[in-house]
Symmetry: C2
Subunit: 120 residues, 2 copies
DNA sequence: ATTATTTATGCGCTTATCCGAATATAAGGA
DNA sequence: TCCTTATATTCGGATAAGCGCATAAATAAT
């Protein structure tokens, strides 16, 4: 079974980037860090999520170099070293809102259809 | 417990777009469809993956409107209605290759360090 | 050294995701 | 109708991912 170059690259893309986006909390963390660097407990409080859970999510992001760390005393400041991930996420949000607009159109079209059917 | 607007939007973003990218096969399918429309069996053969598996992946993409379908006799042609998802994926590939270049730099720096240490 | 603070990890559990094989469904032709 | 082709779904099982709680590890201060 041969594995083509594209497949290998996509496999790596999934493993390193896409799978990190596979949890809504992690996406939210990326957006929060795009505003400013934050400590673990800050994120934990802001998200209202247990510290251990935040720490685990941060580990996944850190292992993939999507966030960077900087020790400050006993605390660890997390920052976003490459803002392009936010650009990619924003693009996906645009795709989503296109979809939602489209779905709203279809829904209202069905409503119009129903009300004109009633008239007949 | 309040849920802020951003959280809701991110939740939807994850549910509808990001989670669909959570499997390498699905990413590969999107790339293949970006070249040309394909039938299920074509994808199945090209990917060397069982038809049922491909069909399931296509369902996930279809439910999220990331692919469109068009019946042609007994077969179903799958196409990519919005190429922007490819733009987003390509951007992530760029981020990844930046990372890989960076890692290569660090690795070679360590090698240089080691060899100069040996000299002393 | 002891203690306080902050972050990371181990553990057990639950849930979600993926898979292959088999079966069901849909469309078209003999 | 019956059969063929193409696609979709169901089933059962295996694997991965996420969570909360408790605990370990790291740093700094007394």
């Amino acid at each position: 079974m041969e594995t083509k170059p594209l497949e290998i690259e996509i496999g790596l893309l999934h493993e390193r980037i896409c799978s990190a986006l596979g949890d809504p909390t992690r996406i939210l963390i990326l957006y929060m860090l795009s505003e400013k660097g934050m400590f673990v407990n800050e994120l934990s409080e802001a998200l209202n999520i247990p510290q251990s859970s935040v720490s685990r999510h941060l580990r996944i992001l850190r292992e993939r170099n999507l966030v960077a760390t900087e020790r400050q005393g006993t605390a660890v400041l997390y920052t976003l070293p490459d803002k392009r991930i936010i650009v990619a996420l924003d693009l996906m949000r645009e795709i989503l809102s296109s979809q939602l607009r489209q779905e709203a159109k279809i829904t209202s079209a069905i409503h119009n259809q129903n009300s004109s059917e009633k008239k007949e």
